[in-house]
Structure formats: structure tokens, C-alpha cells
Symmetry: C2
Subunit: 144 residues, 2 copies
């Protein structure tokens, strides 16, 4: 009955449904569909609006509110990483592993830094604080 689980042959739907279940999220039609859009094509950086547009293009009926909810739920489940860069848009990165980004000014685009960045002598955090993460953003601009 669940042809929607893997209509296009990848098995991604099944995996996603299982992942969602493991995260305590019901694998609803919308969440599975968004999950497939997100995880089917390698690592991506999307805003909520991007994903909403993709969903519409893929004939998936989802409201923007649900896209936001879903992105945050996926983030909470560790399936996505939230990247806040330029104060305007929030990006969601399907690459959850530890890495950093180039941010292309003027295009509002993120590019994964595949080489890793070594940071020496990272200062001690202020007293009473614990480090949650280190984010390095290299701002780049297209050469004239």
C-alpha cells in the first residue's frame, strides 16, 4: 500500500520514514516528502522558502508553516543543522558533520568548506560557560 514510500526507486523514503520514527516524529506524507527532497541529492543548503518552492515544483502540497515546523523538527532530531549567517535568512544544512562555510556575499549562498580548518589556541570560554560549537564563516565575493 505504501507506494509513496519509495516511488522513485531509491529506498530513501523508507530510510527517512525509519529515521523519523526513531526521532519520535510520525512519518507523515509531508515530512517524508520534504525529507526526500532534502536528502535525496547530497548535501545542500536551503532556506525554508527554497524548500517550499521545491516542494511545490515537485507537486507536494505543503504549507510554508509546515515547512518551517518540519525543518525545526528535523534539526531537533539531528537530521539537519541550522546555519544562521547574514541575519536575514536561516539556512538548513543537510550536512550534519562538523564543517564550515564560505558565504558568498551578494548571492546569499553557502558553500561547504570541504577542507577542514584547524583552529589553534581557541581561547577559554568565559567563566561559567561551556562551548556548544565553533562556527567559521569565510565571507567571499565574486571577483569583479
Amino acid at each position: 500500500m505504501s507506494f509513496w514510500l519509495m516511488p522513485s526507486g531509491g529506498g530513501a523514503g523508507v530510510r527517512i520514514a525509519a529515521d523519523l520514527r526513531a526521532a519520535g516524529l510520525r512519518p507523515t506524507r509531508q515530512r517524508v516528502a520534504l525529507g526526500k527532497l532534502l536528502f535525496a541529492k547530497g548535501h545542500r543548503h536551503l532556506s525554508a522558502e527554497d524548500l517550499h518552492e521545491e516542494a511545490q515544483a515537485a507537486a507536494v502540497r505543503v504549507s510554508l508553516a509546515t515547512v518551517y515546523n518540519t525543518l525545526h523538527q528535523f534539526t531537533g532530531a539531528g537530521l539537519l543543522r541550522e546555519v544562521a549567517i547574514d541575519g536575514a535568512r536561516t539556512y538548513f544544512d543537510t550536512n550534519v558533520s562538523h564543517h564550515h562555510h564560505f558565504f558568498v556575499e551578494g548571492e546569499g549562498r553557502l558553500i561547504d568548506m570541504s577542507d577542514h580548518v584547524d583552529i589553534d589556541r581557541l581561547p577559554e570560554p568565559p567563566a561559567g560557560m561551556e562551548v556548544m560549537g565553533v562556527e567559521v564563516v569565510v565571507r567571499v565575493r565574486r571577483k569583479a
Copy 2:
């Protein structure tokens, strides 16, 4: 007699007026007043709203729109540095020198990293791109 130089005692007003003039900005009442609030007390991180509140507390009549304008003009003049961290608020840092930040989650507060951070092996930017700057944000949280 020198009290005629500065009505409220400091020389900051004079300095700020000169800096503004040098930057091609007319030293208006509002800009000088905001400049004094910004630069009188060492390095600070403020949002537009923060500065607007301070101005009101200091009985300086300025609209929020003017605060925004002024902050951006000061940034353009190199008097401030804009720091976009958490996607919500934009902070303006009176410390223009090259340094990085701790961002205190839950408090939306920035702390200067006084030690500097050495970054080795910073990857080459993507083809056709030039590096505009490197930003390191260490996210910290108050220990439970």
C-alpha cells in the same frame, strides 16, 4: 576659560564631530549624541534597539529609523563593525579591530574574544571568489 568647548565636560563630542566630518557625515545633534553613547564607554555590542533605548534613557530624542541610519552610516565610515550572528538581531561592535566573538546562547549576548584565534590551512576560496573576511563565532551557553 575652556568650558565653552564642551557643554557636558568630555571632549568626546569634539572628537566625534571631527570624525564625522572626516567621514563626510554632518555632525548633527543626533549623530553626535549617538556617537557619544557608542564610544564613551569602551567596546560594546549593541543592537539598534539597544541604542535607541539608551538614547531615550539619556533624553536624546531620536527615532529608531535614525538609529538604524546612523548605525549603518557609522559602519560605512569604519567607526563600527556589523556583526550578524543568530539570524534575528544585528549587532554593531564598537571594536573595529580584527577579532572574534563568543555568542552566549539564550542571552543573545556577544563577548569579545580578546585572545586571537589562529587559523591554519584556511582553504582556498572557490574559483573566481575573493575572501572578504573570516568570522569565527564560538557559541557558548551558561553552565547549568
